[in-house]
Symmetry: C2
Subunit: 281 residues, 2 copies
Protein backbone atom coordinates (compact mmCIF):
# COMPACT_ATOMS: atom_id res chain seq x y z
CA UNK A 1 0.00 0.00 0.00
CA UNK A 2 1.38 3.44 -0.92
CA UNK A 3 1.56 6.35 1.53
CA UNK A 4 -1.23 7.97 -0.46
CA UNK A 5 -3.50 4.92 -0.16
CA UNK A 6 -2.74 4.65 3.55
CA UNK A 7 -3.60 8.34 4.05
CA UNK A 8 -6.85 7.88 2.12
CA UNK A 9 -7.82 4.88 4.20
CA UNK A 10 -7.33 6.90 7.40
CA UNK A 11 -9.11 10.00 6.11
CA UNK A 12 -12.20 8.09 5.08
CA UNK A 13 -12.03 5.29 7.65
CA UNK A 14 -11.99 2.71 4.91
CA UNK A 15 -11.59 -0.83 6.23
CA UNK A 16 -8.16 -2.16 5.33
CA UNK A 17 -9.67 -5.55 4.50
CA UNK A 18 -12.00 -4.23 1.79
CA UNK A 19 -11.07 -4.59 -1.86
CA UNK A 20 -8.83 -1.60 -2.50
CA UNK A 21 -11.25 1.30 -2.06
CA UNK A 22 -8.59 3.67 -3.31
CA UNK A 23 -8.63 2.04 -6.71
CA UNK A 24 -10.36 4.98 -8.35
CA UNK A 25 -7.55 7.17 -7.10
CA UNK A 26 -4.86 4.84 -8.40
CA UNK A 27 -4.22 6.92 -11.50
CA UNK A 28 -3.63 10.11 -9.49
CA UNK A 29 -0.12 11.47 -9.63
CA UNK A 30 1.06 10.57 -6.17
CA UNK A 31 2.79 13.45 -4.44
CA UNK A 32 4.18 13.70 -0.91
CA UNK A 33 2.54 17.13 -0.46
CA UNK A 34 -0.88 15.62 -1.09
CA UNK A 35 -0.09 12.77 1.30
CA UNK A 36 0.82 15.26 4.00
CA UNK A 37 -2.35 17.32 3.44
CA UNK A 38 -4.36 14.14 3.87
CA UNK A 39 -2.61 13.41 7.16
CA UNK A 40 -3.63 16.73 8.75
CA UNK A 41 -5.02 16.54 12.22
CA UNK A 42 -5.93 19.37 14.55
CA UNK A 43 -3.46 19.51 17.45
CA UNK A 44 -4.74 20.66 20.83
CA UNK A 45 -1.86 19.47 23.03
CA UNK A 46 1.34 21.51 22.72
CA UNK A 47 4.84 21.49 24.13
CA UNK A 48 5.84 24.87 25.57
CA UNK A 49 8.81 25.32 23.17
CA UNK A 50 8.58 28.80 21.67
CA UNK A 51 8.05 29.23 17.92
CA UNK A 52 11.08 31.15 16.65
CA UNK A 53 10.53 34.53 15.01
CA UNK A 54 12.06 33.23 11.78
CA UNK A 55 9.47 30.46 11.67
CA UNK A 56 6.68 32.98 12.26
CA UNK A 57 7.97 35.04 9.34
CA UNK A 58 7.96 31.94 7.14
CA UNK A 59 4.34 31.28 8.12
CA UNK A 60 3.44 34.85 7.20
CA UNK A 61 5.30 34.65 3.88
CA UNK A 62 3.39 31.46 3.05
CA UNK A 63 0.14 33.17 4.08
CA UNK A 64 0.88 36.21 1.93
CA UNK A 65 1.59 33.91 -1.02
CA UNK A 66 -2.02 32.70 -1.06
CA UNK A 67 -4.37 34.32 -3.55
CA UNK A 68 -6.06 37.54 -2.49
CA UNK A 69 -9.04 39.09 -4.25
CA UNK A 70 -7.87 41.79 -6.72
CA UNK A 71 -4.55 41.83 -4.81
CA UNK A 72 -6.31 43.95 -2.16
CA UNK A 73 -4.63 41.95 0.64
CA UNK A 74 -7.52 42.61 3.01
CA UNK A 75 -6.22 40.67 5.98
CA UNK A 76 -3.77 41.04 8.82
CA UNK A 77 -2.51 38.73 11.53
CA UNK A 78 -1.72 39.44 15.17
CA UNK A 79 0.84 37.12 16.78
CA UNK A 80 0.06 36.63 20.46
CA UNK A 81 2.62 35.08 22.79
CA UNK A 82 1.96 36.99 26.03
CA UNK A 83 0.62 34.45 28.56
CA UNK A 84 -1.83 36.91 30.14
CA UNK A 85 -3.29 37.91 26.79
CA UNK A 86 -3.58 34.26 25.76
CA UNK A 87 -5.33 33.51 29.05
CA UNK A 88 -7.83 36.32 28.51
CA UNK A 89 -8.48 35.14 24.95
CA UNK A 90 -8.86 31.55 26.19
CA UNK A 91 -11.57 32.82 28.50
CA UNK A 92 -13.47 34.25 25.48
CA UNK A 93 -13.45 30.77 23.94
CA UNK A 94 -15.05 29.19 27.00
CA UNK A 95 -11.76 28.21 28.59
CA UNK A 96 -10.10 26.16 25.85
CA UNK A 97 -6.83 25.09 27.50
CA UNK A 98 -4.86 24.91 24.25
CA UNK A 99 -5.40 28.65 23.64
CA UNK A 100 -3.57 29.28 26.91
CA UNK A 101 -0.98 26.56 26.42
CA UNK A 102 0.08 27.01 22.80
CA UNK A 103 3.32 28.98 22.48
CA UNK A 104 1.98 30.99 19.53
CA UNK A 105 -1.58 32.14 18.93
CA UNK A 106 -2.19 33.74 15.54
CA UNK A 107 -5.29 35.90 15.34
CA UNK A 108 -6.48 36.23 11.74
CA UNK A 109 -8.05 39.56 10.98
CA UNK A 110 -10.52 40.40 8.21
CA UNK A 111 -9.03 43.83 7.71
CA UNK A 112 -10.62 46.57 5.63
CA UNK A 113 -8.97 49.26 7.75
CA UNK A 114 -5.81 49.21 5.61
CA UNK A 115 -7.91 50.15 2.57
CA UNK A 116 -9.33 53.03 4.61
CA UNK A 117 -5.78 54.21 5.22
CA UNK A 118 -4.95 53.77 1.53
CA UNK A 119 -8.01 55.92 0.79
CA UNK A 120 -6.59 58.64 3.03
CA UNK A 121 -3.47 58.65 0.86
CA UNK A 122 -5.27 58.62 -2.50
CA UNK A 123 -8.11 60.92 -1.46
CA UNK A 124 -10.62 58.52 -3.05
CA UNK A 125 -13.51 57.43 -0.78
CA UNK A 126 -13.67 53.75 0.26
CA UNK A 127 -17.45 53.58 0.39
CA UNK A 128 -17.67 49.97 -0.81
CA UNK A 129 -16.17 48.87 2.51
CA UNK A 130 -19.68 49.13 4.03
CA UNK A 131 -20.93 46.25 1.90
CA UNK A 132 -21.26 42.59 2.82
CA UNK A 133 -19.27 41.79 -0.34
CA UNK A 134 -16.13 43.50 0.96
CA UNK A 135 -16.53 41.84 4.35
CA UNK A 136 -16.77 38.51 2.54
CA UNK A 137 -13.67 39.31 0.47
CA UNK A 138 -11.70 40.01 3.63
CA UNK A 139 -12.95 36.87 5.40
CA UNK A 140 -12.03 34.69 2.40
CA UNK A 141 -8.65 36.42 2.05
CA UNK A 142 -7.93 35.74 5.73
CA UNK A 143 -9.02 32.10 5.47
CA UNK A 144 -6.90 31.35 2.38
CA UNK A 145 -3.91 32.99 4.05
CA UNK A 146 -4.40 31.11 7.31
CA UNK A 147 -4.69 27.76 5.56
CA UNK A 148 -1.39 28.36 3.78
CA UNK A 149 0.14 29.12 7.19
CA UNK A 150 -1.25 25.82 8.51
CA UNK A 151 0.21 23.89 5.58
CA UNK A 152 3.57 25.65 6.01
CA UNK A 153 3.53 25.15 9.77
CA UNK A 154 2.80 21.44 9.48
CA UNK A 155 5.61 21.11 6.92
CA UNK A 156 7.96 22.77 9.43
CA UNK A 157 6.93 20.35 12.17
CA UNK A 158 4.29 22.40 13.97
CA UNK A 159 0.78 21.38 14.93
CA UNK A 160 -2.21 23.71 14.66
CA UNK A 161 -5.87 24.10 15.54
CA UNK A 162 -8.33 26.78 14.43
CA UNK A 163 -10.34 28.56 17.13
CA UNK A 164 -13.70 29.75 15.82
CA UNK A 165 -14.86 30.48 19.38
CA UNK A 166 -12.96 33.79 19.15
CA UNK A 167 -16.23 34.97 17.59
CA UNK A 168 -18.08 34.41 20.87
CA UNK A 169 -17.27 38.01 21.86
CA UNK A 170 -15.90 39.94 18.86
CA UNK A 171 -15.84 43.38 20.53
CA UNK A 172 -13.86 42.08 23.51
CA UNK A 173 -11.37 40.38 21.19
CA UNK A 174 -11.06 43.59 19.14
CA UNK A 175 -10.31 45.57 22.32
CA UNK A 176 -7.78 42.97 23.47
CA UNK A 177 -5.95 43.23 20.14
CA UNK A 178 -6.46 47.02 19.83
CA UNK A 179 -8.04 46.53 16.41
CA UNK A 180 -8.99 49.67 14.49
CA UNK A 181 -12.52 50.06 13.08
CA UNK A 182 -13.27 47.75 10.14
CA UNK A 183 -11.02 44.98 11.46
CA UNK A 184 -12.50 41.74 12.83
CA UNK A 185 -10.82 38.65 14.26
CA UNK A 186 -12.37 35.86 12.16
CA UNK A 187 -10.65 33.05 14.08
CA UNK A 188 -7.59 32.20 16.09
CA UNK A 189 -4.98 29.59 15.24
CA UNK A 190 -2.98 27.84 17.96
CA UNK A 191 0.48 26.74 16.84
CA UNK A 192 3.33 24.88 18.46
CA UNK A 193 5.10 21.56 18.66
CA UNK A 194 2.62 18.78 19.26
CA UNK A 195 3.06 17.02 22.60
CA UNK A 196 3.98 13.45 21.64
CA UNK A 197 2.50 12.22 24.93
CA UNK A 198 -0.97 13.41 23.85
CA UNK A 199 -1.05 12.59 20.13
CA UNK A 200 -3.83 13.72 17.79
CA UNK A 201 -5.50 11.43 15.25
CA UNK A 202 -6.72 11.90 11.71
CA UNK A 203 -10.46 12.54 11.93
CA UNK A 204 -12.46 10.63 9.32
CA UNK A 205 -14.67 12.67 7.00
CA UNK A 206 -17.81 12.04 4.99
CA UNK A 207 -16.99 10.16 1.80
CA UNK A 208 -16.09 12.30 -1.23
CA UNK A 209 -19.43 11.47 -2.85
CA UNK A 210 -21.12 13.46 -0.06
CA UNK A 211 -19.44 16.73 -1.03
CA UNK A 212 -18.50 16.34 -4.71
CA UNK A 213 -21.05 16.96 -7.45
CA UNK A 214 -20.60 16.84 -11.21
CA UNK A 215 -21.97 19.67 -13.37
CA UNK A 216 -24.93 20.21 -11.05
CA UNK A 217 -25.79 19.66 -7.40
CA UNK A 218 -27.72 16.43 -7.14
CA UNK A 219 -28.83 14.58 -4.04
CA UNK A 220 -29.97 10.97 -4.02
CA UNK A 221 -31.76 11.02 -0.66
CA UNK A 222 -31.55 7.30 0.03
CA UNK A 223 -27.87 7.19 -0.82
CA UNK A 224 -27.14 10.30 1.23
CA UNK A 225 -28.95 8.90 4.26
CA UNK A 226 -27.04 5.63 3.95
CA UNK A 227 -23.87 7.73 3.90
CA UNK A 228 -24.94 9.56 7.07
CA UNK A 229 -25.62 6.22 8.79
CA UNK A 230 -22.22 4.84 7.75
CA UNK A 231 -20.52 8.01 8.96
CA UNK A 232 -22.37 7.90 12.28
CA UNK A 233 -20.94 4.46 12.87
CA UNK A 234 -17.46 5.54 11.71
CA UNK A 235 -17.51 8.50 14.11
CA UNK A 236 -18.81 6.45 17.02
CA UNK A 237 -15.88 4.09 16.53
CA UNK A 238 -13.44 6.99 16.13
CA UNK A 239 -14.65 8.68 19.30
CA UNK A 240 -14.45 5.44 21.25
CA UNK A 241 -10.85 5.04 20.02
CA UNK A 242 -10.13 8.56 21.36
CA UNK A 243 -11.80 7.76 24.69
CA UNK A 244 -14.32 10.47 23.98
CA UNK A 245 -18.03 9.92 24.68
CA UNK A 246 -19.38 8.21 21.57
CA UNK A 247 -22.08 10.13 19.74
CA UNK A 248 -23.64 10.10 16.30
CA UNK A 249 -22.32 12.76 13.92
CA UNK A 250 -25.87 13.49 12.77
CA UNK A 251 -27.04 14.06 16.36
CA UNK A 252 -24.01 16.16 17.31
CA UNK A 253 -24.22 18.28 14.17
CA UNK A 254 -27.93 18.74 14.53
CA UNK A 255 -27.66 19.92 18.11
CA UNK A 256 -24.87 22.31 17.07
CA UNK A 257 -27.30 24.18 14.77
CA UNK A 258 -30.53 23.61 16.69
CA UNK A 259 -31.10 27.30 17.29
CA UNK A 260 -29.56 30.61 18.36
CA UNK A 261 -28.89 29.19 21.83
CA UNK A 262 -26.45 26.68 20.25
CA UNK A 263 -24.21 29.47 18.92
CA UNK A 264 -22.37 30.42 22.16
CA UNK A 265 -23.27 34.07 21.75
CA UNK A 266 -22.51 34.18 18.05
CA UNK A 267 -26.19 34.69 17.25
CA UNK A 268 -25.43 38.39 17.81
CA UNK A 269 -22.64 38.54 15.23
CA UNK A 270 -24.52 41.04 13.05
CA UNK A 271 -24.70 43.52 15.94
CA UNK A 272 -21.09 42.88 16.92
CA UNK A 273 -19.89 43.52 13.36
CA UNK A 274 -21.94 46.71 13.13
CA UNK A 275 -20.19 47.90 16.32
CA UNK A 276 -16.82 47.07 14.73
CA UNK A 277 -17.54 49.16 11.63
CA UNK A 278 -19.07 46.57 9.31
CA UNK A 279 -22.66 47.62 8.60
CA UNK A 280 -22.92 44.82 6.01
CA UNK A 281 -25.07 46.74 3.53
Amino acid sequence: MTDFARALHARYAMPAASPDPAAEWAAATPHPVVDSLLRHCSVRAFLPDPVPEATLLSLVAAAQSASTSSNLQTWSVVAVRDPDRKARLAEVTGGQAHVRECPLLLMWIADLSRLDRVAEVTGVPADADRYLEMFLVSVVDAALAAQNAVVAGEAMGLGAVYIGAMRNRPEQVARELALPPRAFAVFGLCLGRADPARPASVKPRLLPSAVLHHEQYQVDTARERAGFARYDSVMREFQASQRMPAADWTAQSSSRVRGPESLSGRDRLVAALAALGFPLD
Copy 2:
Protein backbone atom coordinates in the same frame (compact mmCIF):
# COMPACT_ATOMS: atom_id res chain seq x y z
CA MET B 1 21.20 31.63 -2.31
CA THR B 2 18.80 28.90 -1.14
CA ASP B 3 15.51 28.11 -2.91
CA PHE B 4 13.76 29.63 0.09
CA ALA B 5 15.71 32.90 -0.13
CA ARG B 6 15.10 33.04 -3.88
CA ALA B 7 11.36 32.52 -3.34
CA LEU B 8 11.29 35.25 -0.69
CA HIS B 9 13.10 37.69 -2.96
CA ALA B 10 10.50 37.11 -5.68
CA ARG B 11 7.52 37.28 -3.32
CA TYR B 12 8.57 40.60 -1.82
CA ALA B 13 10.40 42.02 -4.85
CA MET B 14 13.54 42.42 -2.82
CA PRO B 15 16.46 43.68 -4.89
CA ALA B 16 19.00 40.92 -5.34
CA ALA B 17 21.84 43.39 -4.84
CA SER B 18 20.76 44.45 -1.34
CA PRO B 19 22.46 42.97 1.72
CA ASP B 20 20.61 39.70 2.27
CA PRO B 21 17.12 40.90 3.16
CA ALA B 22 16.17 37.35 4.06
CA ALA B 23 18.63 37.33 6.94
CA GLU B 24 15.89 37.43 9.55
CA TRP B 25 14.43 34.32 8.01
CA ALA B 26 17.77 32.50 7.97
CA ALA B 27 16.99 30.52 11.10
CA ALA B 28 13.71 29.17 9.69
CA THR B 29 13.63 25.45 9.07
CA PRO B 30 13.80 25.40 5.29
CA HIS B 31 11.24 23.10 3.74
CA PRO B 32 10.41 22.48 0.10
CA VAL B 33 6.66 22.72 0.84
CA VAL B 34 7.13 26.25 2.14
CA ASP B 35 9.26 27.11 -0.91
CA SER B 36 6.51 25.88 -3.21
CA LEU B 37 3.80 27.84 -1.33
CA LEU B 38 5.92 30.95 -1.80
CA ARG B 39 6.19 30.31 -5.53
CA HIS B 40 2.39 30.27 -6.04
CA CYS B 41 1.11 32.31 -8.92
CA SER B 42 -2.41 32.51 -10.26
CA VAL B 43 -2.60 30.81 -13.66
CA ARG B 44 -5.03 32.21 -16.22
CA ALA B 45 -3.69 30.49 -19.36
CA PHE B 46 -4.44 26.79 -19.60
CA LEU B 47 -3.73 23.91 -21.94
CA PRO B 48 -6.89 22.01 -22.90
CA ASP B 49 -5.64 18.68 -21.44
CA PRO B 50 -8.42 17.26 -19.27
CA VAL B 51 -7.89 16.82 -15.54
CA PRO B 52 -8.29 13.09 -14.84
CA GLU B 53 -11.04 11.97 -12.45
CA ALA B 54 -8.44 10.45 -10.15
CA THR B 55 -6.73 13.83 -9.85
CA LEU B 56 -10.06 15.49 -9.07
CA LEU B 57 -10.65 12.97 -6.31
CA SER B 58 -7.22 13.71 -4.87
CA LEU B 59 -8.05 17.43 -4.87
CA VAL B 60 -11.30 16.70 -3.03
CA ALA B 61 -9.56 14.44 -0.50
CA ALA B 62 -7.04 17.21 0.19
CA ALA B 63 -9.90 19.70 0.52
CA GLN B 64 -11.77 17.44 2.92
CA SER B 65 -8.63 17.09 5.01
CA ALA B 66 -8.66 20.79 5.87
CA SER B 67 -10.14 21.79 9.20
CA THR B 68 -13.88 22.32 9.35
CA SER B 69 -15.71 24.05 12.17
CA SER B 70 -17.06 21.49 14.68
CA ASN B 71 -16.60 18.87 11.94
CA LEU B 72 -19.84 20.16 10.40
CA GLN B 73 -18.33 19.97 6.88
CA THR B 74 -20.54 22.80 5.65
CA TRP B 75 -19.22 22.97 2.11
CA SER B 76 -19.63 21.18 -1.19
CA VAL B 77 -17.94 21.46 -4.55
CA VAL B 78 -19.39 21.21 -8.05
CA ALA B 79 -16.94 20.10 -10.76
CA VAL B 80 -17.84 21.73 -14.07
CA ARG B 81 -16.30 20.47 -17.31
CA ASP B 82 -19.17 20.99 -19.76
CA PRO B 83 -18.05 23.68 -22.26
CA ASP B 84 -21.49 25.26 -22.53
CA ARG B 85 -21.88 25.53 -18.77
CA LYS B 86 -18.37 26.98 -18.45
CA ALA B 87 -19.21 29.51 -21.17
CA ARG B 88 -22.38 30.57 -19.37
CA LEU B 89 -20.49 30.90 -16.08
CA ALA B 90 -17.73 32.85 -17.83
CA GLU B 91 -20.40 35.27 -18.97
CA VAL B 92 -21.41 35.85 -15.31
CA THR B 93 -17.81 36.85 -14.56
CA GLY B 94 -17.78 39.51 -17.26
CA GLY B 95 -16.33 37.24 -19.92
CA GLN B 96 -13.16 35.96 -18.25
CA ALA B 97 -11.62 33.75 -20.96
CA HIS B 98 -9.91 31.38 -18.52
CA VAL B 99 -13.27 30.33 -17.06
CA ARG B 100 -14.22 29.09 -20.52
CA GLU B 101 -10.80 27.70 -21.37
CA CYS B 102 -9.82 25.84 -18.20
CA PRO B 103 -10.49 22.10 -18.46
CA LEU B 104 -11.87 21.96 -14.90
CA LEU B 105 -13.85 24.60 -13.07
CA LEU B 106 -14.51 23.87 -9.41
CA MET B 107 -17.37 25.82 -7.87
CA TRP B 108 -16.98 26.05 -4.09
CA ILE B 109 -20.26 26.04 -2.25
CA ALA B 110 -20.99 27.40 1.22
CA ASP B 111 -23.49 24.65 1.94
CA LEU B 112 -25.85 24.62 4.91
CA SER B 113 -28.38 22.53 2.98
CA ARG B 114 -26.72 19.29 4.05
CA LEU B 115 -27.33 20.20 7.69
CA ASP B 116 -30.97 20.80 6.78
CA ARG B 117 -31.10 17.26 5.41
CA VAL B 118 -29.36 15.95 8.53
CA ALA B 119 -32.05 17.75 10.55
CA GLU B 120 -34.72 15.87 8.58
CA VAL B 121 -33.11 12.62 9.70
CA THR B 122 -32.66 13.58 13.36
CA GLY B 123 -35.94 15.47 13.70
CA VAL B 124 -34.10 18.35 15.42
CA PRO B 125 -34.68 21.82 13.91
CA ALA B 126 -31.71 23.57 12.25
CA ASP B 127 -32.80 27.08 13.20
CA ALA B 128 -29.26 28.42 13.66
CA ASP B 129 -28.78 28.13 9.89
CA ARG B 130 -30.54 31.50 9.55
CA TYR B 131 -27.73 33.31 11.34
CA LEU B 132 -24.78 35.18 9.83
CA GLU B 133 -22.51 33.05 12.06
CA MET B 134 -23.44 29.83 10.27
CA PHE B 135 -23.06 31.50 6.88
CA LEU B 136 -19.60 32.64 7.97
CA VAL B 137 -18.75 29.11 9.16
CA SER B 138 -19.68 27.69 5.77
CA VAL B 139 -17.75 30.37 3.85
CA VAL B 140 -14.62 29.77 5.95
CA ASP B 141 -15.01 25.99 5.65
CA ALA B 142 -15.25 26.34 1.85
CA ALA B 143 -12.22 28.65 1.69
CA LEU B 144 -9.99 26.40 3.80
CA ALA B 145 -11.01 23.41 1.70
CA ALA B 146 -10.42 25.22 -1.59
CA GLN B 147 -6.97 26.42 -0.54
CA ASN B 148 -5.96 22.84 0.28
CA ALA B 149 -7.15 21.87 -3.19
CA VAL B 150 -4.99 24.63 -4.70
CA VAL B 151 -1.93 23.46 -2.76
CA ALA B 152 -2.59 19.85 -3.79
CA GLY B 153 -3.24 20.83 -7.40
CA GLU B 154 -0.04 22.83 -7.67
CA ALA B 155 1.89 19.92 -6.15
CA MET B 156 0.40 17.67 -8.85
CA GLY B 157 1.47 20.07 -11.61
CA LEU B 158 -1.76 22.02 -12.11
CA GLY B 159 -2.23 25.76 -12.17
CA ALA B 160 -5.19 27.53 -10.59
CA VAL B 161 -6.95 30.85 -10.25
CA TYR B 162 -9.83 31.84 -7.96
CA ILE B 163 -12.86 33.51 -9.54
CA GLY B 164 -14.61 35.84 -7.09
CA ALA B 165 -16.67 37.32 -9.94
CA MET B 166 -18.98 34.31 -9.62
CA ARG B 167 -20.63 36.49 -6.96
CA ASN B 168 -21.67 39.04 -9.61
CA ARG B 169 -24.94 37.12 -10.05
CA PRO B 170 -25.39 34.56 -7.26
CA GLU B 171 -28.95 33.53 -8.14
CA GLN B 172 -28.03 32.84 -11.77
CA VAL B 173 -25.04 30.77 -10.68
CA ALA B 174 -27.23 28.87 -8.21
CA ARG B 175 -29.71 28.07 -10.99
CA GLU B 176 -26.90 27.00 -13.33
CA LEU B 177 -25.59 24.59 -10.69
CA ALA B 178 -29.07 23.55 -9.50
CA LEU B 179 -28.14 24.47 -5.94
CA PRO B 180 -30.72 23.74 -3.24
CA PRO B 181 -31.78 26.50 -0.82
CA ARG B 182 -29.07 27.49 1.69
CA ALA B 183 -26.23 26.75 -0.75
CA PHE B 184 -24.19 29.59 -2.25
CA ALA B 185 -21.27 29.54 -4.70
CA VAL B 186 -18.64 31.58 -2.84
CA PHE B 187 -16.13 31.49 -5.70
CA GLY B 188 -14.98 29.44 -8.65
CA LEU B 189 -11.55 27.91 -9.14
CA CYS B 190 -10.12 27.31 -12.61
CA LEU B 191 -7.71 24.38 -12.81
CA GLY B 192 -5.61 22.85 -15.52
CA ARG B 193 -2.11 22.55 -16.89
CA ALA B 194 -0.55 25.98 -17.28
CA ASP B 195 0.20 26.91 -20.89
CA PRO B 196 4.00 27.25 -20.98
CA ALA B 197 3.67 29.70 -23.88
CA ARG B 198 1.84 32.16 -21.62
CA PRO B 199 3.61 31.81 -18.27
CA ALA B 200 2.41 33.43 -15.05
CA SER B 201 4.69 35.30 -12.66
CA VAL B 202 4.91 35.51 -8.88
CA LYS B 203 3.10 38.70 -7.86
CA PRO B 204 4.94 40.70 -5.23
CA ARG B 205 3.10 41.45 -1.99
CA LEU B 206 3.26 44.12 0.69
CA LEU B 207 6.15 43.45 3.05
CA PRO B 208 5.37 41.22 6.04
CA SER B 209 5.56 44.22 8.37
CA ALA B 210 2.40 45.55 6.65
CA VAL B 211 0.27 42.59 7.72
CA LEU B 212 1.98 41.16 10.82
CA HIS B 213 1.43 42.68 14.24
CA HIS B 214 2.77 41.56 17.61
CA GLU B 215 0.42 41.31 20.60
CA GLN B 216 -1.68 44.23 19.40
CA TYR B 217 -2.52 45.94 16.13
CA GLN B 218 -0.31 48.99 15.81
CA VAL B 219 0.13 51.30 12.85
CA ASP B 220 3.01 53.70 12.44
CA THR B 221 1.42 55.98 9.84
CA ALA B 222 4.65 57.35 8.38
CA ARG B 223 6.17 53.89 8.09
CA GLU B 224 2.98 52.45 6.57
CA ARG B 225 2.79 55.22 3.98
CA ALA B 226 6.45 54.69 3.06
CA GLY B 227 5.55 51.02 2.60
CA PHE B 228 2.64 51.92 0.32
CA ALA B 229 4.93 54.15 -1.76
CA ARG B 230 7.56 51.41 -2.04
CA TYR B 231 4.89 48.90 -3.05
CA ASP B 232 3.43 51.29 -5.63
CA SER B 233 6.81 51.42 -7.30
CA VAL B 234 7.26 47.63 -7.02
CA MET B 235 3.87 47.03 -8.65
CA ARG B 236 4.46 49.57 -11.40
CA GLU B 237 7.64 47.74 -12.27
CA PHE B 238 5.91 44.34 -12.04
CA GLN B 239 3.08 45.42 -14.32
CA ALA B 240 5.50 46.88 -16.84
CA SER B 241 7.36 43.54 -16.83
CA GLN B 242 4.02 41.83 -17.57
CA ARG B 243 3.25 44.29 -20.37
CA MET B 244 0.20 45.40 -18.42
CA PRO B 245 -0.65 49.10 -18.10
CA ALA B 246 1.38 50.35 -15.15
CA ALA B 247 -0.68 51.70 -12.25
CA ASP B 248 -0.13 52.39 -8.58
CA TRP B 249 -1.42 49.73 -6.22
CA THR B 250 -2.87 52.41 -3.96
CA ALA B 251 -4.80 53.97 -6.86
CA GLN B 252 -6.00 50.62 -8.20
CA SER B 253 -7.08 49.36 -4.77
CA SER B 254 -8.78 52.62 -3.94
CA SER B 255 -10.79 52.65 -7.14
CA ARG B 256 -11.76 49.00 -6.49
CA VAL B 257 -13.56 50.02 -3.26
CA ARG B 258 -14.63 53.55 -4.22
CA GLY B 259 -18.32 52.79 -3.90
CA PRO B 260 -21.14 50.36 -4.68
CA GLU B 261 -20.65 50.98 -8.40
CA SER B 262 -17.15 49.41 -8.13
CA LEU B 263 -18.57 46.06 -6.99
CA SER B 264 -19.79 44.68 -10.37
CA GLY B 265 -23.25 44.03 -8.98
CA ARG B 266 -22.04 42.55 -5.73
CA ASP B 267 -23.43 45.52 -3.79
CA ARG B 268 -26.70 43.54 -3.82
CA LEU B 269 -25.19 40.45 -2.19
CA VAL B 270 -27.41 40.76 0.91
CA ALA B 271 -30.56 40.56 -1.25
CA ALA B 272 -29.11 37.73 -3.34
CA LEU B 273 -28.28 35.71 -0.23
CA ALA B 274 -31.74 36.29 1.22
CA ALA B 275 -33.17 34.90 -2.02
CA LEU B 276 -30.91 31.86 -1.69
CA GLY B 277 -32.12 31.08 1.83
CA PHE B 278 -29.59 32.98 3.93
CA PRO B 279 -31.48 35.70 5.85
CA LEU B 280 -28.25 36.47 7.78
CA ASP B 281 -29.94 37.18 11.11
